[in-house]
Each structure stands twice: as C-alpha cells, then as structure tokens.
Symmetry: C2
Subunit: 410 residues, 2 copies
C-alpha cells in the first residue's frame, strides 16, 4: 500500500490541528466522514444551549433580549463568520436557512439590475438553490432562468440581459471546486452580479468572496453549528445602500421598535435580517465559532488537501476492481474537502459501510460521498475508511438485503 | 379594594390549572406579565435541548435525521399545535418565523385567487405582517395593498378584486380580539381568502380557525416554545392541492432526496415546509407541547377572563387619578389574554415597574402591556402587580432619570 497505518499515525502526531479534534464529540467506533452534511458537535455546544435556556431565558426571561445580546445575534454571529469567507465586519447577516438566504440574495440582485431579466443557475447547484430561484421567478413573472452545465457553459450564457449568476462554490455531489475569482470576474465583466453558495466550502478551507456581489451559506456542515443552525447571507458593501430584498421583516426595519405602519429599510447589513432570530439554535453555532477563532485556515486547507488526496490514492489502490469511479477532481486545487465515487450499487454499499462504523453518505443516483472535516478527521481515519470500504466491496457485504431498504433521509 | 390578597390566594388554591405553574421556570421575585411576548421556559426545556444536542446530535450525528425524527419535525410538531388552533392533523407546518410564514400564506392566497389583485391589511396588524406584505407586493408588482382601520372598516374594503385579508386575531397593542367566525364569513362571502395571524391568540385560549383559509402564528409567546422558536402556517385542506407558495425549498419537494433539477411540490401540508428545520429550536417547543397536551383549554379561557377582568378592576380602582387609560376592550369576549393601558410616560413607568419585579412591556407610543399567561400567572400576581403599579404612580417613582434611558429592545 501507498502508506502504512503506522505512517498515518505519525502524520496525525505531526498535525498542527491535532488538538482541535479534542474540542468535538465523536462517538467511539465511528469514523465520521459526513461533516460535509452535518458537522460533529463541539463539546462546548451542550453547555452553550444550557446557558441560553437556563441562564438567559430562564434567568432573565424577556429581558434577555437586551441583556444577553439576543437581538443582535444575526449581526454579531455574522461578524464572526465573515473572516472565514474572506470578508469584513458588517457584511454578513445570519438567519433562517440557506433557501431563505437565496431569496434575499437573488431578489436583491434582481433589484440591483432591474433592466436585466435572466437568472443563470447551474444544473449542478444543490437542488434547493434551483427550486428557490424557480419559485421566485415564477412568482415575479417575466424572468428567464437560464440553466448551465458547469462553468464551461457559462461564457456562452452571459448575455447582456443576465442579472445574476448563482453557483455553488463546491459541487455537493462531486466536491468539484470553482475558480471563484476567475468566475466572479467573468460574470462581473458581463455586467451581471455574482452570487456564490458557500454551503460546501465555508469551513472547508479559506473562502474568499470579497470580490463577489452576494453569497449565501449554511453553518451546519463544516462550520459545525448544529442541525438546522441558521444560515448566512453576505452582501458586498457597495450593494448595501441600494440593495433591497423581498423579505422585508421588522428586524430589517430602520426602527423596528417604532412600530411604524410602513417598511423602511435599516442601514447596512441589518436590512438583510428578517425577524426574531432562532436564539436557541445560535448557541451551538457560537460555541463552534469560538473554536474557529483560533484555527489557522492555511493549516485547514493543507490538511484537507492531504486527507482527500490520500483517500483517493488508497481507495483507487485498494478498490480498483470493484466498480468505483472517481467523481471528484484529481487536482486538489479544483477540489473541496470532499471525495465522491460513483458505484452502481452505491446505496447498499454506503449502508454496509456505515454498519461497519465508517460514515459517509449517498446522493442519488449513484454517488458515495466522503467529507473530510479537517478540524477532526485524522489520517488514520482515512486509512481505516479506505480499508473498510475495500473489505465491503471485496466481500460484497453490501448484498445483504437489509442494506437496500431506503431510509427517509439518505 | 374589590378583593383582598387573601381572597386571591384562595382563588389560586381553587384554580384547576394551579399545578401547571410548577412545570415552568419563574425566577423568584418576578411577576412575569410578558408571556404575550416571550413565554416562560418549561422546566423540561433544558433537558429537551440537552437530549437533542448530546444524545441525538452527539450520539447519532447525521443518522439522527432518520432515527430521531428530525426530518419530520415540521409536520409532527405542526400536528401537536393543530388542536390548539381548532384544526386537524396534516394542516399545520412548523418552520422559520411568522414573517416567513406570512410570505407562504399570502403568496399561496394570491395564487389561489389569480384574478384578484388587492390584499387587505389592517393598520392594527403587527408591523412585520404589514412589512412582509409590502415587500411581497412590491416585488410582484401589480398589486394594491388596501389598509383598513379595524374590522368596522372591512365591509367597505371588500370589493370583488380582493384576493385575501390578513388580520391579527388579537391586537398586539390593545389585546382586542376579533370575532373570528364572523369576520371569516364576511371575507369569504366576498370571495376573498381569510388569513389569520394567531401570534397573540394561540395558547391564550382555544383558537378555532378551522373555517379560515390560512393562518400563521408564532410559538414563543403563550405557547412557550423559547426565544425565536419556529412559527407555523395552517392551510385549510381544501386549499392544499391547489395551494402553491413562493418559497419552494427542497423540503417542500415531492421527492427531496431524488435531487431533481426542477421543483415539484409535495402533496399536502408538506409543500409548505421549506428547508432544513432548526432542530435545536424545536426541542423547547416540543417540551412545551408536552404540557399543552394535558391542558383543558376551556379552563385556560375561563382563567384568562378572570385574571384580565380582575386586573382591569384593580388598576382602575387603585390608579384612577394617575393618567392611565384602558386600551383593552372591557367586554371579555372581545379581549385576548392581555390588558393594555395608555400613559403619557409609559416608558419610564414600565421601567420603574420592572425594577420592582413586575414585568410588563412597553409599545410605542404610550402603551403599557400586561400579558396574563393562564398556565402560570396567579390571581395573587394580579393583585400584587396592580398594587405595585399603583405605588409607582402614586410615588412617581418613574421620574427617576435611569428609567427614561431607552434599551435596544423595548
């Protein structure tokens, strides 16, 4: 084999991020390669929610809106996410879900380019991104959604009636990563606005969308904010004064507690907040952001590249005869922190693998996904995962009937 | 005085709901008359969030989406709210905020009445209800928002181009309560759809919107779901097949895990869900709904009427010379579970009162609000609150400078 288990143990011992793993809850016997779907809990998350529920809500009741900083959570939390995506304070608002953030971003973009009536969307975008744009365009009327297939298709699609382009920085199925700077420049050169979906990149490496117009992202994957933790929207400072979006709730009002009859947008990023934040769901997210404050993002990227490259190398070496096809780019520059393989029986293969303690996930029709969250995944996990996958394929363990029964959530 | 403190103690001893108070966290020395803004925490809320974070997220990681029922939380939680608003299972979807629920309800209503281009909105509606309709109408174009001032104005506004009417069942400032059945019938007779906002009524008494077309409401007031707990939308079964709304996220898709490129709505109420639920924020809400399962709603209403009537009586008796004006209806049939008084110096009066342990709140320009959550407010609390308010006014304690400094959240 390309590497021994002992060599992996040595790599872990030399890992500059190795102590950060201790900050996370990782059940014994589990190799958790699903941090690209739901990040592992920070150990501090439990105490954080207990503090919010018992001390803040229980101790101060409604007074906590002032005393405990609840009211400003969307902005204070946004300012903590900002450095992870390469932007400054006052540029990120947290709240709701990525789907809702897409409505904010796209409706703002359409307002900023009122003469242009086309939204470009990628067939590789995560489906909810597409669905939200479809729902919005159908409701607004008079808009065209122009689908592209990957970035190669983009130049041809950028006619002068394109208002904005919405792309996922990292493909949720393949882990393929766009050249964000080049694509942003291309889109902006055509007079359109660039909106990035950072769901599969924020926390996977040092994102930089400072040149982009808008961005959205979730916080429950590599950012470890907890199941359904609130999402974020980034708005370039140049667009904040003119940027208006559809979801004009009272927290985005210039004076929410004046209870005026008509909407008047707040200055700055606050106008991209909508309403009462889901306070309890912010607690684990902020516990995770406490960890991120001390993380070297260059080390995260270096480790991510090493982990994913090693996994590709080992799986290809060990599993070559068993019908796996690499879906992720070989060039680490073009790859997020995820490796995907196709397999015609991907679903039962993944179920069998999970049954043996190696947790990846499956995406229709045939995609086995493995996420490598650099904060808590070790080289030895990569080794053990590849060996276990090889055993499942070699022994055809996945043919057991119980692995083909579909669960509600795949 | 109309009643003695000892008589209030006796009323509490005879209260059929008296044991339910023990299920809530209420700090010593606090008379909490703000349950109409943020309900008190159920004692079980802390254990519920700990279970979600430690056992479910920490113990099962991403597998909890299946094993712990996370995926269906919007619908299972909705089915638990349904009996509190007089409707059946499969009619309520939980998620996001009331503001977002308004976009779902109003955009669905507009789709169901495509020939009609007017939305009727009350100037007494909570501002975010108005703001969301304004943002939606501006984005869609071609719609008129017709403002009415209370229900007396409504008949004249119901021309044949009205698609829907959005009203708050209980006025957030005055506590005035609509005759829901009569108003619904009036609106529907004009061919329009009736949308009720139940924020200040759900959990205050037995709501019944089964004849209405749509409804929205929050869960963090009388329902005690916790700060920013998710909101709900009700859709009458007759409208579910044809009802389409603007926020077409993947959880509302017929097959979310097929990852199809185009949106196709799920059957039934599920299409009114959008995306990944804020799982941690559902935990306290479901802890509260465990309590509600065993509550006699007729007893809630009877106690609410008794508490609010007694408070009006005592305050008017004790505070008559001090410039308070009753804003709430005297007829208990027309009143929610809230009593409001105007006072020209309402803000410092409320601050002084809170400083003495009686927590109400203030709404601009001059409204002192007192909410009486029947699950945990006692008759003796009503007595003590009225006596304390009288003292603050009598001694003019509110003239202390520190009470006029405005807090961020009022």
């Amino acid at each position: 084999m390309a590497i021994s288990r002992a060599e992996c143990v040595a790599l872990d011992a030399a890992d500059p991020l190795k102590q950060i793993r201790d900050e996370f809850v990782l059940p014994d016997g589990t190799i958790y390669l699903v941090g690209n779907s739901l990040g592992a809990p920070p150990k501090a998350a439990a105490a954080a929610v207990a503090r919010t529920v018992e001390q803040e809500w229980g101790g101060r009741l409604v007074g906590a809106w002032n005393v405990s900083g609840w009211y400003d959570l969307p902005l204070t939390t946004g300012d903590r996410i900002a450095p992870l995506i390469g932007v400054g304070p006052g540029q990120v608002a947290v709240g709701e879900s990525t789907s809702i953030a897409i409505v904010k971003a796209v409706s703002a973009a359409l307002g900023l380019r009122p003469e242009r009536r086309v939204v470009v969307s990628d067939l590789a975008n995560f489906p909810t991104d597409r669905y939200m744009v479809q729902g919005l365009a159908e409701a607004l009327g008079g808009y065209e959604i122009r689908d592209v297939t990957g970035v190669d298709d983009l130049s041809g699609a950028l006619s002068e009636d394109v208002a904005c382009v919405l792309l996922s920085e990292v493909d949720y199925r393949t882990g393929a990563r766009h050249d964000t700077a080049a694509v942003t420049a291309l889109v902006q050169a055509a007079g359109a606005l660039m909106i990035w979906d950072l769901c599969h990149s924020a926390g996977a490496y040092q994102v930089d969308v400072s040149a982009a117009d808008l961005a959205v992202g979730c916080t429950y994957k590599y950012l470890n904010g907890g199941p359904g933790s609130p999402a974020f929207v980034y708005v370039h400072p140049d667009h904040q004064a003119a940027g208006r979006h559809l979801l004009t709730g009272w927290h985005g009002h210039a004076e929410p507690f004046a209870f005026e009859p008509d909407f008047r947008p707040a200055e700055g990023i606050r106008r991209f907040t909508v309403s009462t934040p889901h306070v309890v769901s912010y607690a684990p997210l902020n516990a995770s952001l406490d960890i991120w404050e001390h993380v070297d993002l260059a080390a995260v990227r270096a480790k991510s590249v090493a982990l994913t490259s090693l996994f590709i190398e080992l799986v290809e070496e060990l599993c070559a005869p068993h019908g796996l096809g690499l879906l992720s780019p070989r060039d680490p520059e073009r790859r997020g922190s995820q490796v995907s393989f196709s397999h015609p029986d991907g679903y039962p293969v993944m179920r069998a693998l999970i049954d043996r303690g190696v947790h990846g996930d499956f995406r229709a029709p045939d995609v086995l996904r493995f996420g490598f969250a650099p904060l808590y995944i070790r080289f030895v996990d990569v080794y053990d995962a590849a060996v276990t996958l090889a055993e499942v394929l070699e022994k055809e363990s996945w043919r057991d009937d119980r692995y083909s029964r579909r669960l509600a959530v795949t």
